[in-house]
């Protein structure tokens, strides 16, 4: 087992923590109230993950985890984090020509997502669509209602990161990355991030971790790549592949995250910016 890269928020200094949860190809470690995920290199980067090759996690939840001198140990594993390549996302796209390309490509993204959901037989989560619409209405017309709309979504759905959480992360990604070029996104992102921070405790530990990261503008690699392509229109031909990469995250998290991206794009499309355009 060898570490091959790490995210830019993985602590560089020594730390001590515990093993939070163990999965088929991933382990979550709790470090200073945050999660650090060690996962197979087949999965894409997140800000707080260490990617490794050829491993099968051998650790027990609750066991100790420690990083000293750049060597991370937990369970039966010891990983050398020194001199690892660090994945860092690019800065948000420049503020030129943002919204129209996003709106155009959204239809394509929606179509690919629809096929993905159909092909994998991912069932709809009761109440998710209606609550997502409430969030959209709040974002675009009733900013004061945003926290309440967020409360309806946080923790909604089965799984490790409930669907509502993933959807919120997708929406936050759009608003965060589009903020430099959109006054609407510039005000909607902090409003949504506030609601998310306020209610993050209502979901699973893992869901809360990714919600808090997103509220601070930190997202996984597939989401950053897809959203940047959408809001800049710079890599239109790559949108299908980027959409598929984002859809492949987790069991259903990818589909929910992309639903959030689409919701974010819709919010941009009905924003004052869009009307002005």
């Amino acid at each position: 087992m060898v570490a091959v890269s790490k995210g830019y928020l993985v602590p560089a200094a020594d730390f001590a923590g515990t093993v939070h949860s163990v999965f088929a190809t991933a382990c979550n470690l709790t470090v200073d109230g945050r999660l650090l995920t060690v996962h197979d290199a087949a999965a894409p980067h997140t800000p707080t993950s260490v990617r490794v090759v050829s491993w099968r996690p051998r650790a027990r939840a609750g066991g100790p985890a420690r990083c000293a001198g750049g060597i991370l140990t937990f369970g039966e594993h010891a990983l050398d984090l020194r001199a690892l390549p660090v994945w860092t996302p690019p800065p948000p796209p420049p503020p030129a020509a943002t919204v129209p390309p996003a709106i155009t490509a959204a239809r394509e993204v929606a179509r690919i997502r629809e096929r993905h959901v159909e092909a994998r037989g991912i069932p709809a989560v009761p109440g998710l669509a209606a609550r997502a619409e409430s969030l959209l209405e709040a974002l675009t017309g009733r900013p004061r209602d945003v926290p309440r709309a967020v409360a309806g979504l946080v923790g909604l759905g089965p799984g490790l990161t409930p669907s509502g959480d993933d959807l919120l992360v997708g929406a936050l990604a759009v608003l965060s990355r589009a903020a430099p070029g959109s006054a609407f996104a510039g005000s909607a992102f902090p409003a949504l991030a506030y609601g998310v921070r306020r209610h993050a405790h209502r979901t699973t530990d893992v869901g809360a971790h990714y919600l808090r990261l997103a509220a601070a503008g930190h997202f996984g690699e597939p989401l950053v790549n897809l959203v940047d392509a959408l809001v800049t229109g710079a890599a239109r031909a790559a949108v299908p592949a980027l959409t598929q990469a984002a859809l492949r995250v987790g069991a259903s998290s990818g589909a929910d995250g992309v639903a959030g991206v689409l919701l974010g794009l819709r919010a941009l499309g009905s924003s004052p910016d869009r009307k002005a355009a």
């Binding site: 949860s21 163990v22 999965f23 088929a24 190809t25 991933a26 087949a42 894409p44 090759v53 050829s54 939840a61 690919i112 096929r115 993905h116 159909e118 092909a119 994998r120 991912i122 069932p123 009761p126 109440g127 409360a151 309806g152 979504l153 946080v154 923790g155 909604l156 759905g157 089965p158 799984g159 490790l160 990161t161 409930p162 669907s163 509502g164 405790h201 209502r202 979901t203 699973t204 530990d205 893992v206 869901g207 809360a208 031909a237 790559a238 299908p240 592949a241 598929q244 990469a245 492949r248 987790g250 069991a251 259903s252 998290s253």
Partner: protein, 510 residues
């Protein structure tokens, strides 16, 4: 009978969402259960449980909640089933929805459990595959190495090690085999029979075995060698061993060898070996000139195409003379708009792509490709087609970090749509590969893409020709006849085999 509601809480238990939804559905389907839900105990989910009539549950976000409403006995049964399923799938196993079963952990355990086991299938990351293969060989097992990216020196080492022990190594990068009637990897449901195949090409082997089945004969064994076996360095160790094994097999009357062009010296060795055997051997070295190896005779028959190989093998098995390899059958020409002039091939099978390029060359079409045959052009950017283009979407350039398009055909469907949207495209050629390992439903998305492509072309005053072939049998889980019928209903010209499809497509191209 009155309903009751009950729930169970599993503290700090994490499962992925699809697994939980599958469990919810399984519980809800039990007779007497009105509704059931398996979710994490977040506030939003607990609200939903209440609204669904599943009652008040006092749980935290890290707890897994199983809640059931229904007849008393049914509820008890459902909770028991949930308990069993959750126990089978250990806490924290981010599975794919399938329930985990007790499994053997080592090859040694498997051999100890049943000493009759004599074949191990190795599928681990390439750098570790040789070590696992050696473990299996030391236990006296033949080996199929599904893994790719195994260093060549390690491939040579395990093959020589196996030779010394009279064992067979199929692979590395061996995706297809049928052993004693059991399909391994990407393989089809074919009847057992008297034709044996040794293939350095997975889809090549699939095409030959399925056509043999369609022609009414069957397969004794189909052995894979991996794509590097016929290189000068490896020296066809596995192909020669497979050839000798089939020659000694009483159930094999005819042998077919299939490969992309081997190293010339290696090919000569293989052909010479074939000429010494008592059983007839059909050889298909795609793109190679049979004259370089002495041509037909002395028990050896050369075929130019995969389908031609199967046709020849069936004829020989029946004591007949191999038929001449057929040209493209008649077809209706499509009236293309001015400017439509290119052939675009979108393949999931690498050997199909290779064969299609060769046959297109016969028709005077020099195509670009991500895997060009000799005389064709390498695409500068695999994402953008140029002129005539024939793509292998199963190549590494397209499959890094994602499933092969035979497993997840979405990338193929997307690319097909993109090619069809190009106003210069006239003919779109593609394959559909059925069988074990391939997508359960490989064409629903494809048909949607074709519908969209035709609608767009119609709006723009263009006409498109879609030409395809379906590699598979009616006994495959996907049912070849049903797939062919659906494609034809959508206006696709479905040829009998890949060679015919390629010849038709090349002939149609203006």
């Amino acid at each position: 009978m009155s309903s009751i509601r009950e729930h169970r809480i599993y503290p700090n238990r994490y499962q992925d969402s699809v697994a939980l939804m599958a469990l919810s559905a399984a519980l809800a389907e039990l007779p007497g259960v009105e509704t059931a839900s398996v979710v994490m105990g977040t506030g939003a989910n607990l609200d939903n449980l209440r609204e669904a009539g599943l009652g008040e549950v006092d749980a935290g976000p890290g707890d897994l909640v199983v809640a059931v409403l229904g007849e008393e006995e049914a509820v008890a049964r459902a909770l028991e089933l949930a308990d069993e399923r959750l126990a089978e799938q250990p806490s924290g196993d981010a599975g794919d929805g399938a329930v985990a079963r007790r499994t053997l952990r080592t090859l040694r355990q498997a051999v100890e459990e049943n000493p009759a086991h004599n074949l191990a299938l190795i599928s681990v990351p390439g750098p570790y595959a040789a070590a696992e293969a050696l473990k299996a060989l030391r236990l006296g097992l033949n080996v199929m190495v599904f893994s790719d990216n195994v260093p060549l020196d390690q491939e040579i080492e395990i093959k020589r090690f196996a030779e010394e022990r009279d064992l067979l190594v199929m692979g590395p990068d061996c995706g297809t085999a049928i052993v004693n009637g059991l399909p391994l990897g990407f393989a089809n449901v074919v009847r057992r029979g008297r034709i044996g195949v040794v293939g350095a090409s997975g889809t090549g082997t699939q095409e030959i075995t399925t056509r043999v089945h369609q022609l009414g004969e069957g397969i004794s064994q189909a052995l894979g060698t991996g794509g590097h076996d016929l290189s000068a360095e490896v020296g066809a160790i596995s192909m020669l061993r497979g050839l000798r094994a089939l020659a000694a097999d009483e159930e094999t009357d005819v042998i077919v060898l299939v490969s992309k062009p081997p190293a010339e010296t290696v090919a000569k060795t293989v052909v010479e070996e074939a000429r010494t055997l008592d059983v007839p051997v059909v050889i298909c070295f795609l793109g190679a000139d049979p004259a370089a190896f002495g041509g037909d005779g002395q028990g050896v028959h050369f075929a130019r195409t995969l389908a031609g190989s199967a046709d020849a093998a069936v004829a020989l098995a029946r004591g007949e003379t191999p038929p001449a390899e057929s040209a493209a059958p008649p077809y209706d020409q499509v009236r293309f708009a001015p400017g439509q002039r290119y052939l675009r091939g979108v393949f999931t099978g690498g050997t199909f792509c290779y064969e299609a390029q060769l046959l297109a060359q016969d028709a005077g079409i020099q195509a670009a490709s991500n895997t060009p045959v000799a005389g064709n052009l390498a695409l500068a950017d695999v994402r953008a087609s140029t002129g005539h283009t024939i793509l292998d979407l199963g190549d590494d350039a397209f499959t890094q970090g994602r499933p092969h398009p035979m497993i997840d055909p979405l990338p193929r469907d997307e690319r097909l749509l993109a090619e069809a949207a190009d106003p210069a495209t006239a003919v779109v050629l593609f394959d559909v590969v059925l069988g074990y390992g391939s997508a359960d439903d490989p064409i629903s998305g494809l048909l949607k893409a074709i519908g969209e492509a035709n609608a767009r072309a119609g709006r723009e005053g263009r006409a498109l020709a879609f030409v395809a072939h379906v590699c598979g049998t009616d006994d495959d889980p996907q049912d070849r006849s049903a797939v062919v019928a659906r494609l034809r209903e959508a206006g696709v010209l479905v040829a009998e085999n890949n060679a015919q499809a390629a010849a038709i497509a090349a002939g149609m191209t203006p």
